[in-house]
């Protein structure tokens, strides 16, 4: 059973997609497992022949347990998540306020979605004590990872504000030539700029393991995606520094719906070397994130807002984004963090080079 996150302890094998005797190639999907982060497709990392299946479907398997053999090598694989409850955003907010379990409410909205009225009725008839249920699923996984992070990682925080005028103008120009479905979002520019900034300050791209920093050559950015049922996942976009802006956008268009449908691949959950969280859509101005161990950095972006901006003694109004770095002080010092934010800001002033 592979570890798909620093605090994953077990997973449930849903089904095998191969049987003994099958030939497999690197990258093939060989099994599907359920984890706290959703259902995950397990890839194989070497070519070979499946010689033995050691775990049957439906079993809960601890991380590290052998699950199958391929050509003498071993492949490990991941607790089913509760079925997603359809509910309107207003119903979710009210259910949270009143402590009503959405799963226990019969929905009368479109396709059985729970509506605000359904929650109100349920709240009136419910005798249950609100807000006393234990955490589960994604929430529990996040709780474990973040508690470990705050316990083990001495965070430092740096913040800078970046003029986005040139970057957004470049984006608008590119988008004019693109069909609607391929339009680039500002997040794409931010991700690419982060990746290129990490090339200049590679100490922020890697893991802290056994009291030492393991810098990684490849830059795989874990991009925080909020789930409609609550919580978030941070699947990795691979090799972002080597991708063009349209390729990064295509990657996000592929990743976001799969993350929300619980259809991520194992490598996407285990490979991230750094995390980027962008809460601009939620109106947040500045993000002070918590590093996802064993990573050593997290970059946060807020909403791009029009702000007063002084340059060369001239006051004007510019679109400005707040960028923050949460760094692991065991791995780097503030000076290197500052160098990264400087590189990030500089890259965003040269958008044609992204």
């Amino acid at each position: 059973m592979p570890s798909l996150g620093a605090d994953m302890r077990e997973g449930t094998l849903l089904h095998w997609k191969v049987k003994p005797g099958d030939r497999v190639k690197r990258g093939d999907i060989i099994a599907e497992v359920a984890t706290d982060k959703g259902d995950i497709e397990i890839e194989v990392f070497e070519d070979g022949v499946v010689t033995e299946i050691l775990v049957e479907a439906g079993r809960e398997v601890p991380v590290g347990e052998l699950m199958a053999r391929i050509d003498g090598g071993a492949v490990a694989v991941p607790k089913p998540e509760p079925a997603r409850v359809r509910a309107t955003p207003a119903a979710r907010r009210l259910a949270e306020e009143r402590g009503v379990a959405l799963a226990s409410v019969r929905g009368t909205g479109p396709e059985g979605a729970v509506t605000r009225e359904d929650v109100e009725k349920a709240a009136q008839t419910s005798t249950a004590e609100p807000r006393e249920r234990p955490a589960e699923g994604v929430r529990l996984a996040i709780a474990a990872a973040m508690a470990r992070s705050n316990r083990e990682i001495p965070h430092y925080y740096l913040e800078t504000r970046i003029d986005m005028t040139r970057a957004l103008a470049h984006l608008a120009e590119k988008n004019q030539a693109l069909p609607l479905e391929e339009r680039l979002l500002p997040a794409v520019l931010l991700l690419k700029a982060v990746a290129l900034g990490l090339r200049e300050v590679p100490e922020l791209n890697g893991y802290w393991v056994d009291d030492s920093l393991q810098k990684k050559d490849e830059i795989h950015i874990g991009f925080a995606i909020s789930l409609r049922k609550g919580g978030l996942v941070t699947p990795a976009l691979h090799q972002v520094d080597r991708k063009s802006l349209p390729e990064i956008m295509a990657g996000l268009r592929d990743l976001v719906p799969r993350a929300r449908a619980g259809k991520l691949r194992s490598s996407e959950l285990s490979d991230a070397t750094v995390t980027v969280t962008n809460l601009g859509d939620l109106g947040v101005e500045t993000v002070y994130g918590v590093i996802y161990p064993p990573q050593v950095a997290l970059v946060g972006f807020g909403k791009i807002l029009e702000r007063p901006w002084v340059e060369n003694g001239m006051l004007g109004v510019r679109p400005v984004v707040s960028a923050t770095l949460a760094g692991d002080h065991r791995a780097t010092d503030g000076a290197r963090g500052a160098a990264f934010l400087d590189a990030l800001a500089r890259r965003l002033q040269e958008p044609t080079e992204l």
Binding site: R86, A87, T88, P89, A90, A91, R92, G109, P110, E111, A113, T115, R116, A172, N175, Q176, L180, E181, R183, L185, P186, A187, S226, R228, L252, R253, V256, D281, L282, G283
Partner: protein
């Protein structure tokens, strides 16, 4: 198309993109992304679906006009004002 027809078309589109969204329950003046609990990726999908269903392509420079349900419906109504109700491309 009338505003009621446009709202009906939007409800069909949202059933695919944000199935939990209930147009009838949201504040028409609230920012659409917050009201529907959708992010910028979903918003792009919404615009793409509107183009496919109603034949109206919304330019980036027009995003400011369609940031609320009220704004979006009004914008589409103005674009579709000359289109007879029975010529809707919705199937």
């Amino acid at each position: 198309m009338t505003e009621a027809e446009i709202r009906g078309a939007l409800a069909k589109i949202l059933a695919r993109i944000a199935p939990e969204a209930d147009l009838a329950s949201i504040d028409p003046g609230e920012p659409l992304q917050r009201a529907l609990d959708i992010d910028s990726f979903d918003f792009l999908n919404l615009l793409t679906a509107i183009r496919d269903a109603l034949g109206v392509a919304i330019a980036e420079s027009e995003y400011g006009k369609v940031g609320t349900l009220q704004g979006l419906v009004g914008f589409l109504a103005s674009r579709l004002a000359d289109r007879p109700s029975d010529s809707s491309p919705l199937s």
